[in-house]
């Protein structure tokens, strides 16, 4: 859903599409000349597919570059700058806030072919080009007794570059931290086409790039920290009649001193959508389900921690099932990872929130959001990394049946619940275009000013992923309350 104000500017009447490889605009022609035809997509049939991410469609880009090296990225950035064309970085386009969808005719730099990956077991590090698929870092590190913990549900698809762009998290981040915690150094190409290598000392400029959604520079290579996996992991599933009870169990378990490695929840609509896909016997009747892993190198402690969580769940009114085998826990975690796309079975489109609230207020927050959903009459579901207080309330809709305005209003009211309880708008999916209209309410004007200063310093011409994250500088705020 694109708020009116952000709707892509209609492009000039499309010239008759050609697929014979002859570029149909000067930028594409220039890029083809400097990079060769294999790395440049210029026919409309090819560019069409680079206008969306996992939530939103934008404008058809003017050209798409598929770089194979940092030097290719530099050439692409220079050409776009010379032509005054905006630049949008793109990984697997699994983003959920509109980040990789161009808002107007742009150059899309798609990193999917930059997939060089080296593991240095002695240093417990990996060096990855941006297009490396997240899961493959762990796959390549595991034979050396190491893993890469950040695990967004999309980790089979998403890229390291996109993970840095969004500072992605996942179930593991409750205990082990998010993407940014594993970045030791990164290389990026700035708006002028210069290459920089950043570490995390002095000014943490790398930290600034992480989570900047392609608005400050294009990340080309990353040095990632690897860790040995815990020796033991135990999985538990608890189901509750009502969603607030699940949240109570979470607060109680953590207060009792448990530090599960993963602590996730999904409500009834989620478990049912997933059951339709996987058919693995999730409790269809439950109002909410918690999925919990405890792990460590000492089996006794791991079991003790599981017992703590179990007790908290029982006390909150839940029924508990322990996974009996690795296969059973793998199936349960696949279930959790499938929630988000499985919601497509309910409605084809959704407005996806990514709020984070203090754990102490979780029960009120999930109940308030449930009530807002019920009152609106729109299909609303909740799931997320509840251990971190990171919730994903989703408003599902079909534009032919439900009014986009009603959807937007509901999303806005949910955002306000988070803010009222001392929470923030985005835990991991970024602001993109989806949550940009709420930024003025979530961030005070002085801080927004500081963010703008950073943006101007690194992107003086405003060519890097324009229209994302920051609201218009001299905007009157009225648009934030449609």
């Amino acid at each position: 859903m694109i708020p009116e104000k952000l709707a892509p500017t209609p492009s000039s009447p499309a010239p008759r599409p050609r697929s014979n490889g002859v570029p149909d605009n000067p930028l594409a022609a220039e890029l083809t000349r400097s990079l060769g035809p294999k790395k440049v997509l210029s026919a409309r049939s090819e560019r069409l597919n680079y206008r969306y991410d996992a939530i939103q469609f934008g404008a058809v880009p003017l050209a798409v570059v598929l770089p194979e090296s940092t030097a290719d990225v530099v050439a692409a950035v220079r050409a776009a700058r010379a032509a005054g064309v905006p630049i949008v970085g793109r990984g697997a386009a699994s983003g959920l806030s509109g980040g990789a969808a161009p808002l107007r005719e742009s150059l899309v730099v798609s990193f999917t072919r930059m997939t060089r990956l080296e593991v240095f077991p002695k240093r417990r590090e990996a060096r990855a080009q941006s297009g490396v698929v997240t899961l493959s870092v762990t796959e390549k590190a595991r034979p050396h007794g190491l893993i890469y913990p950040p695990d967004p549900a999309s980790f089979r698809t998403s890229t390291i570059g996109g993970n840095l762009g969004e500072n992605a998290g996942g179930p593991m981040c409750f205990k082990y931290g998010v993407t940014g915690d594993y970045v030791k150094a990164l290389e990026f190409v700035d708006e002028g086409g210069e290459v920089h290598e950043l570490t995390r000392d002095a000014y943490d400029l790398a930290g600034l790039l992480i989570g900047s959604e392609g608005t400050l520079g294009l990340i080309t290579e990353v040095t990632l920290r690897l860790t040995p996996p815990p020796r033991y992991t135990r999985t538990l599933m608890a189901s509750f009649p009502e969603v607030g009870e699940a949240a109570e169990a979470v607060s109680a378990a953590i207060a009792a001193g448990a530090v599960p490695s993963k602590l996730e929840f999904m409500d009834r609509a989620c478990t049912n959508a997933v059951e339709d896909f996987l058919d693995i016997g999730l409790p269809r009747e439950a109002g909410a389900v918690l999925l919990v892993d405890t792990d460590g190198d000492d089996l006794e402690t791991v079991e003790e921690e599981r017992a703590l969580v179990e007790a908290a769940c029982l006390k909150a009114g839940g029924a508990v099932r322990r996974a009996q085998s690795d296969a059973e826990s793998a199936a349960l975690w696949q279930a959790r990872r499938s929630v988000s796309p499985a919601l497509g079975r309910i409605r084809p489109q959704r407005m996806n929130e990514d709020i984070v609230v203090p754990r102490s207020v979780l029960p009120e927050v999930v109940r308030e959001i449930r009530a807002l959903g019920d009152a609106s009459g729109l299909p609303l579901v909740q799931f997320g990394h509840i251990g971190d207080g990171n919730l994903h309330p989703n408003v599902l809709f079909d534009p032919r049946r439900e009014s986009p305005q009603a959807v937007h209003d509901l999303a806005h009211r949910i955002a306000l619940v988070a803010i009222r309880h001392g929470g923030v708008l985005s835990g991991e999916h970024g602001i993109g275009t989806m949550k940009r209209p709420f930024m003025r309410e979530a961030v005070d004007p002085v801080t927004l000013g500081a963010l703008w200063s950073v943006k101007h310093a690194l992107d003086p011409r405003g060519l890097l992923n324009p229209g994302k994250i920051l609201p218009d500088e001299e905007g009157d705020g009225a648009h934030a309350h449609p």
Partner: protein, 409 residues
């Protein structure tokens, strides 16, 4: 079709499953991208000929369907799109001739046998031929076996447990007659009598998936007339592609007069491994003899078995039921081998790359035997394993079982 297109939430979960995306790394050659292209073409926003190259590269392997949590019926989408677009395509006369030849030869076992024999003698000339003609020849075995006539009825050898109808298949009869022979032996040994109904023909899948819809409808109706589902416990196929085709009949006839008949028919269709797996689970399968030495069997999931029919466990269980056999899982096991019906005739380049990759992955398990449940995969894998310089035998799952029964493993 519009509904199916809308069901895609463009999440990208299907990307890692797609063989062409794995090879080409661009969005147009991914399931998500193809869905968008189809939509654009159907809405008139993109000329068909611009989208066609990317849609033609789709193997129809349905790995994306297995991967898609939103339940997008991609297989039905691409099939109906091909049916819609084929009459609108501008193809060169040579191209047309090639396609219609494929569709005539493949489904007719006798013609195929003759063609294969000619091909076999022409093999030494292959390097001189254009790629389009070279590809099919590469796949021919060194020796094309003689056709074996099929008995219309095979009685049960032990206590009678069931009665099934069997689809004898097309090209497979000519290339690997032992698939059917082994199937009949294994069934009959397990007390199942087998009828090969007269008048049956090609399942129609090849025609359907290349967009020759009228021809497909004709073949489907022919089979509906030949098989009478209520007379049998099951209708069996031992070729994953054909089995998937038979199970698709209700979709093919959706909204047409024979839809109900198709439904009754499809409800009875099973792959041979599904059926035998059922006997195994009931404790009704005769125990195979132990192997003479420990054997590692690499099991290859045929797309049309694993993705289109969702049959993964049964063949593995059958192999494991042979004492002495260890089943090895193939790395990147979900990635198509590149055979995919007529794909290696139409996209020899990509099919070849996938075949090489598949052979490398399979051989990395250092197998003593390779098993799979589809004639297309069989020829593709055999030819690429041989080209990689390895002589390890490639067999149908049911052939392995048959050998085990005879104490020859």
């Amino acid at each position: 079709m519009a509904h199916a297109v809308d069901a895609c939430v463009h999440c990208g979960f299907c990307l890692p499953a797609c063989p062409t995306y794995a090879l080409l790394g661009d969005e147009m050659d991914s399931p998500r991208g193809r869905i968008v292209l189809m939509k654009e073409v159907l809405e008139g926003a993109l000329p068909l000929e611009d989208a066609a190259p990317h849609l033609d590269r789709c193997l129809g392997c349905q790995a994306c369907v297995t991967a898609c949590p939103s339940g997008v019926p991609y297989g039905e989408l691409i099939t109906s799109f091909r049916g819609w677009s084929e009459p609108r395509r501008q193809r060169s006369p040579l191209d047309r001739a090639k396609r219609s030849a494929i569709l005539k030869i493949l489904p007719a076992p006798k013609v195929f046998s003759v063609a294969a024999r000619i091909g076999q003698y022409a093999k030494p000339l292959a390097p001189l031929l254009p790629a389009a003609l070279r590809a099919p020849m590469d796949l021919l075995p060194e020796r094309v076996p003689a056709m074996q006539p099929n008995a219309g009825f095979t009685p049960a050898k032990s206590k009678r447990r069931g009665r099934v109808a069997f689809l004898a298949g097309c090209a497979q009869q000519a290339l690997t007659p032992n698939f059917n022979a082994a199937t009949l032996r294994v069934l009959s040994r397990n007390g199942v009598e087998v009828v090969i109904p007269e008048g049956q023909g090609c399942c129609g899948a090849a025609a359907l998936h290349t967009g020759a819809r009228d021809e497909a409808l004709r073949l489907v109706r022919q089979n509906l007339d030949a098989f009478h589902p209520d007379e049998y416990d099951a209708i069996l196929s031992n070729a994953a592609g054909c089995g998937a085709g038979l199970k698709e009949y209700p979709v093919v006839l959706h909204g047409l007069p024979d839809e109900e008949r198709a439904r009754a028919f499809a409800a009875k269709v099973q792959d041979i491994s599904e059926y035998l797996g059922g006997l195994l689970r009931e404790g009704d399968l005769e125990r195979p003899m132990p192997t003479s030495r420990p054997l590692t069997v690499a099991y290859h999931d045929a797309c049309h078995l694993a993705h289109a029919q969702g049959v993964r466990a049964a063949p593995r269980e059958l192999l494991r039921a042979i004492p002495g056999v260890t089943v090895a899982e193939v790395p990147e096991g979900d990635l198509c081998c590149g055979s995919a019906g007529t794909y290696n005739l139409e996209q020899p380049e990509l099919a070849n790359q996938l075949g090489i990759r598949k052979a490398r992955n399979i051989l990395s398990t250092t197998p003593d035997l390779i098993a799979s449940g589809n004639i297309g995969c069989h020829t593709q894998i055999q030819s690429h394993v041989r080209r990689a310089g390895d002589r390890v035998p490639v067999m149908h799952t049911v052939e392995v079982l048959d050998l085990a029964y005879r104490g020859e493993l």
